[in-house]
């Protein structure tokens, strides 16, 4: 070995230059994948995750450029550094995939999720739900004398926290969109 003056683990092509490649720590990453908006492209991405045993914590997809027929898929996934690197490389080789961005490592980013909560209750509980919704800046998008539907936007953590608070107050149903994310700055 002595004759070679190369540092081990210095692969330059990845975002993990300085990390221990063998670390077993599980990380959560948000990936933005720009794809051709063609039939089956979502099936390809989901098939990749199920076929290779990767995790999907959240996945959202919608067309973002109608003219250019491109969609943006936002995936929140977990794995070791090595697994995350494989996920990105595997996504990159899907033919209709144009770009893969790891928002977690490519600098600061913002993440938002939208959720709808149906909360039913009377009296004290109803008042308390309304008060908490106000604190969380949730909007009321439907109300009856015995129920509300709240709309809330925020990080997944904020939505989890809101859900925890609503549960004892009569949470009946909840719908979440999954995460949308963008890098900060120009």
């Amino acid at each position: 070995m002595a004759a070679l003056n190369i540092e081990k683990g210095t692969s330059r092509h990845s975002a993990y230059d300085l990390r221990d490649p063998n670390a077993e720590t599980i990380e959560t990453h948000t990936l933005a994948v720009l794809v051709d908006n063609e039939a089956g492209v979502l099936a390809r991405v989901i098939g990749l995750f199920s076929g290779r045993g990767y995790n999907i914590d959240s996945l959202t997809v919608a067309e973002v450029d109608h003219e250019g027929h491109t969609s943006r898929i936002t995936i929140v996934t977990t794995g070791t550094a090595a697994v995350i690197e494989q996920i990105k490389a595997q996504l990159g080789r899907i033919v209709p995939v144009h770009e893969v961005h790891d928002l977690t490592t490519e600098g600061p980013s913002v993440e938002r999720e939208l959720a709808l909560f149906k909360v039913a209750g009377k009296g004290e509980k109803r008042v308390e739900a309304m008060r908490l919704a106000d604190i969380f800046r949730a909007n009321v998008v439907d109300s009856t004398l015995e129920s509300f539907v709240f709309e809330i936007t925020g990080t997944p953590g904020k939505i989890d926290a809101f859900a925890d608070l609503m549960r004892p107050l009569g949470l009946r149903e909840m719908a979440r969109t999954g995460v949308a994310a963008l890098s900060r700055g120009a």
Binding site: S11, H13, A89
Partner: protein, 584 residues
Amino acid sequence: MTQAMTGAKMVVQALKDQGVEVVFGYPGGAVLPIYDEIFQQNEIRHILVRHEQGAVHAAEGYARSTGKPGVVLVTSGPGATNAVTGITDALLDSIPLVVLTGQVPTFMVGNDAFQEADTVGITRPCTKHNWLVKETDKLAEILHQAFHVATTGRPGPVLIDIPKDVQFATGTYTEPRRAKVDHYRPRLKGDMEAITRLVEAMETAERPIFYTGGGVINSGDAASQLLRELVDATGFPVTSTLMGLGAYPASGKNWLGMLGMHGLYEANLAMHDCDLMINIGARFDDRITGRVADFSPHSVKAHIDIDPSSINKTIRADIPIIGDVAHVLEDVVRLWKSRGRKVNKTAHAKWWARIEEWKKIDCLKYEPSGTIIKPQYALQRLEALTKGRDRYICTEVGQHQMWAAQFLGFEAPKRWMTSGGLGTMGYGFPASIGVQLAHPEALVINVAGEGSWLMNMQEMGTAVQYHLPVKQFILNNERLGMVRQWQTLLHGGRYSHSWSEALPDFVKLAEAFGAKGIQCTDPADLDDAIMDMIAYDGPVLFDCLVEKHENCFPMIPSGEPHNKMLLGNASTDDAIGASGAVLV
């Protein structure tokens, strides 16, 4: 120039424009319009196989032996599902194929129509890319894109599913040069900074080794040429995977032989003890690495591969270089020369001396016999009697495949067709048909086991119909030999279903098809029998009855590191440990 034509005609036109000469196929209701167009022209030759799996393997043999994409045409439903094994095989071995499947008409898709299968869904995970064509106007462009994707970057199989109404309808033909393909352009040139680091490492390394793979063959003849130049100029030893045999010639002075589970002792030990490993177009397959934690523990590893997902998949690369082998090697050779062609000569002398010691083990040694044909002996004779000829070798999967890799010498790329990644029994015979079609004058031999050969034996009809003089050299041990070997090593010799009681009379079988059958049981007759096989102008089924219980060595038991190799005289009962037992 734009032209109006039916979808079926477009298919044939696009194949012509892509320079396709041969299509391997099998007709059915959903592709009849295309077959009608094929009937009305003479430029493209259609080869009627006997099973769609055969069509795909034949196309693989054609592709691997020419460097051109293989083309397959099959019908919907069962035609498409029969092709799936071959398509998966091509995906794992990076073989460029364009597979065309018929589909029920668009207005019936989703209705469980007659012979409907969700072909695009079924083949999504086993193709590089696939398309369902819904409009005739888009068909020609998709066909051209398909050829582009199959052959660009890491090659692989692609599939186009064409509903029958799309074949009948008229649309506008798009010429190849107008098809949009720009979005898919994998990078060919390697990063110069990484290449410089590799060259620096080459200059100082004390125990370097080139570990080459199928990517050298995929990259083209220039890659093999550059590899030879680099190996000869640096004096580094070179080993190859099963898929890369022939890139560096077996007669070359730096050749260590194949590495891996059944690779040569010297190749595996050199990989284990090296201080600089230069992986060129190989993918650190588990047959190579053994126990990953113990894989070549003291080396700096450079990895040249066109597919970023191959890099750092199982083994961490210290010097990753993403690019095409020929492009990268060109830069490596140029840079290394311009920096004064430096290597660490004194250290290399010591390194080679160690390698020579390992070679003395003579790891391919086996117990000869005067009465029974040893499979190794049969291959040594086959090698001696066919060497120097314009020869192509295919194999099936099993012990015979490994012995063929060990005992036959490959001097040039594209002369060795084997199913490595998927390990598909039944691959070799149809593959030999595809090879013979591409090289009508060459000697094409399929080294087979009787178990594998029976899996696609119906293709004898194809060989006879098209007068393809393929030689089927069956090492008949009346056992599923490789399975039997593992049962010896792992399951206490309990030979659960690893032999067939009712094998056919292969000579009669050949004759029933109109081919020639030869049987050989005595080592003394072997040379003459092989010469008869070669001399016969037509397909031959050679039934070579060999020792039934021979094991294939060397062998690294699964889950073990390279330096824990079993050699021929090893005690083998239950040699695979508990942790290796779950591995395949």
